[in-house]
């Protein structure tokens, strides 16, 4: 019986990058997973939590928990940060009554690459590559919450390395924050930009043509900087790199 997951696209993908969400769906499908999508999904509540508005955050926490509790399927989020919100921080904004629901839901909630490697047990994607596609030179930015709050660090790198067409180039300080930090990016734009510029400099120094990451919000920040300065760099979510490498056409 195929594994079943419900995809929670996150508000960033839902509103800005639906193509990335489709890449996630297609990669999971290719790996034999049955993907469903709840129509009423919106946001996990993290922006409100990080800004201190825990009451507001808890409304969205309750929505997420009510939407997904009692189900049997796993919930996949293409974001380490939002996944960590569900797994680590929901318990901080909840009341007694919410705890059982949170435990039920968070035990089934996984970040995209975490789900592939730990739940499906797939670290080697080569067997899924039918024909070897065009070689690409990629460098990987480690998103903070995926690495430090979920402990997922080598897994996405293993996935990228297993792709025969991908040359994975090391980046200096790849584990250092890109400076996005949610509302931090607009509360302290100068600091956030300075951090982002250092990240972009390290990406360029790596010599790769493409920067990839598991969190689209980091890439949104990096992209905003490289677009403003017309830097010839491309950013792709890890699902897009995988999809392209598995030689599946992009489709609308």
């Amino acid at each position: 019986m195929p594994a079943k997951v419900s995809l929670f696209a996150t508000c960033v993908l839902n509103n800005f990058y639906p193509d990335v969400a489709f890449s996630v769906v297609r990669v999971l499908s290719k790996l034999g997973v049955d993907v469903t999508v709840r129509q009423d999904q919106t946001c996990c509540g993290q922006p409100f939590f990080n800004s201190g508005h825990w009451n507001d955050s808890s409304k969205l926490m309750r929505k997420f928990v009510e939407d997904y509790s009692g189900g049997l399927e796993d919930i996949v989020l293409p974001s380490g940060s939002c996944t960590s919100m569900v797994r680590n921080h929901y318990l901080e904004v909840c009341s007694e009554d919410d705890i059982a629901g949170i435990r039920d839901v968070s035990a089934r909630t996984f970040e995209f690459t975490e789900y592939i490697t730990r739940e499906l047990g797939i670290s080697d994607l080569a067997p899924f590559q039918s024909t070897v596609t065009k070689k690409i030179n990629v460098t990987y930015h480690e998103s903070c919450h995926l690495k430090r709050e979920l402990g997922v660090s080598s897994e996405p790198i293993d996935l990228l390395r297993s792709l025969e067409n991908v040359t994975l180039t090391d980046m200096d300080q790849s584990e250092v924050c890109c400076g996005f930090g949610g509302t931090f990016a607009t509360k302290y734009p100068e600091i956030s930009t300075a951090m982002g510029e250092e990240k972009v400099a390290n990406i360029m120094k790596s010599g790769a043509d493409i920067v990839t990451a598991s969190d689209m919000s980091c890439l949104m920040h990096i992209d905003g900087l490289i677009a403003r300065k017309n830097i010839p760099l491309k950013s792709m979510h890890i699902s897009q790199v995988i999809e392209q490498s598995l030689n599946m056409e992009c489709q609308k």
Binding site: F22, T42, F48, N50, W54, S57, G182, I191
Partner: protein
């Protein structure tokens, strides 16, 4: 030290524009940060040490009253004096009274962040007592009439050119950019002060309760000088620095030193148990231990913040912090900068004045990752943000503005309804047909330096709903 935590915005922007400081700060990653990661990875049982260190700290802090009394009795039985100071002013007054009683003219000091809380140098000077900082970095900072920039590298922001000019102006040495020469100038100046001094003032890294021992970690030897030459030794130490047993010292020295500088051990660890014994050749005749609260009991009283008292002041979280490496130490506006400072300063000096500090973090978690006693700094930053926004435990400190709260309330309610989100997106696209910027919704604070992302034509969930799944997707399997 008078807090200027309010000025974070201004000061951090200034620092971002200073190329020399930016260069020095960016060196922290390849310097202290990398060295400490290497030292901790080379320590075979590092994680067990961390756990053990944390457990001991947790235990001591949870029984602090008992340990304070035990420490006190052991210091007294080794011939020392103990003074409990509730505030910085209280501690300063004790030292000034003592200095006056003993006719102290000159004081040599080794590094103490707590003395910065007390503005001790300023106060001593007011009373006609000359204080000399003897740690090279602190000496530079004192000559420049500034405050330390970093917990363990006080003058990290200064270039050798600046220091050379400073020495020439203040102590009349010849200008040179040779670091060895500059160091030996300072050595010569301070050697005389050590000989003259009537009192030595030090901080303390650990206080061992069961033996009444003060442990001092240093590299330059000024800590040893301050505890060997002057006839009176005064140690000022925060009340959280207690450890129960001398057998715990091995654990804590490894944790502290390897996290701080990445050294396997520092050049010197000095252990002081009271004044010299009568048969000893030299050493101070009097030993005074001043144990200071100065707001620490507020952290003790709040279970959400108590673990901030486990801090060993190693500075590893500063070196690891990408924000500290941009904004530097002075932006934080009080004694303790960086991630741990963003928790300690608001509590010790007033949350609402320091309201910028908990928000000035991308919450990347690098601080927690390197902390030798695993202090969950991001969790406490989030807690303080929540207090500033909603003020549940600190009602008088609630200081996030009405509008931000109103917007938050509105947006979070809106997001409960996916149909409303889809509708808004379609509306924005409609508006964009005559006003294209409507698809680039990010505020000016973002777009000043970065392109806004572009709103999708339709949300993912709306696109998904209109897909013929069988035809377009599933066949691809």
């Amino acid at each position: 030290m008078k807090p200027t935590t309010k000025n974070f915005d201004m000061k951090s922007k200034e620092t971002l524009l200073d190329p020399q400081i930016q260069k020095n700060l960016s060196g922290l990653y390849g310097g202290f940060h990398t060295a400490s990661i290497e030292a901790s990875s080379a320590t075979a049982d590092w994680e067990e040490l961390q756990t053990k260190g944390r457990q001991i700290k947790e235990h001591v802090i949870n029984h602090l009253d008992q340990y304070l009394e035990l420490l006190e009795s052991n210091v007294i039985s080794s011939g020392g004096n103990v003074y409990f100071a509730e505030t910085a002013e209280d501690a300063t007054q004790y030292i000034i009274n003592l200095a006056k009683k003993k006719d102290v003219k000159t004081v040599v000091k080794s590094k103490s962040m707590l003395s910065e809380e007390m503005s001790l140098n300023e106060e001593l000077t007011k009373h006609g007592i000359e204080p000399y900082e003897t740690d090279l970095g602190e000496y530079i900072v004192q000559l420049a009439e500034e405050t330390p920039y970093h917990i363990i590298a006080p003058a990290i922001h200064k270039s050798r050119e600046e220091i050379s000019k400073l020495f020439a102006d203040k102590i009349g040495t010849k200008q040179t950019e040779d670091v060895e020469t500059l160091t030996s100038e300072a050595r010569d100046q301070l050697r005389d002060k050590f000989i003259q001094a009537d009192m030595g003032i030090t901080g303390g890294n650990f206080l061992v309760a069961e033996t009444g021992t003060l442990a001092l970690v240093s590299n330059e030897g000024n800590g040893r000088m301050c505890t060997s030459m002057p006839p009176i030794h005064v140690a000022i130490v925060g009340m959280e620095k207690i450890i129960p047993s001398i057998e715990d010292l091995g654990t804590f020295l490894r944790l502290l030193i390897r996290s701080a500088t990445g050294q396997w051990i520092s050049s010197y660890v000095t252990m002081v148990s009271g004044p010299r014994k009568s048969t000893e050749i030299d050493g101070p005749e009097e030993f005074h231990l001043v144990i200071v609260d100065n707001g620490r009991s507020k952290m003790l009283a709040d279970p959400h913040l108590r673990e901030a008292l486990y801090c060993l002041r190693c500075g590893a979280c500063l070196n690891a912090c990408p924000v500290y490496r941009k904004v530097g130490g002075h932006s934080y506006g009080w004694v303790y900068p960086g991630p741990i400072g963003a928790i300690v300063s608001p509590i010790l000096t007033g949350l609402s004045d320091a309201k910028n500090l908990p928000f000035a973090s991308s919450l990347c978690g690098a601080c927690k990752e390197v902390c030798p006693v695993k202090i969950d700094i991001p969790r406490m930053l989030l807690y303080l943000r929540n207090q500033l926004a909603e003020g549940k435990n600190y009602p008088d400190q609630q200081s996030v503005g009405f509008w931000e709260r109103a917007v938050s309330k509105f947006l979070s309610s809106l997001l409960l309804n996916s149909k409303a989100v889809g509708f808004l997106l379609r509306s924005a696209n409609l508006i964009a047909t005559i006003a294209p910027f409507a698809r680039k919704p990010f505020p000016p604070s973002w777009t000043k330096s970065r392109e806004s992302p572009t709103l999708a034509k339709k949300t993912f969930v709306d696109q998904w709903a209109s897909l013929d799944l069988d035809a377009s997707l599933r066949k691809k399997r």
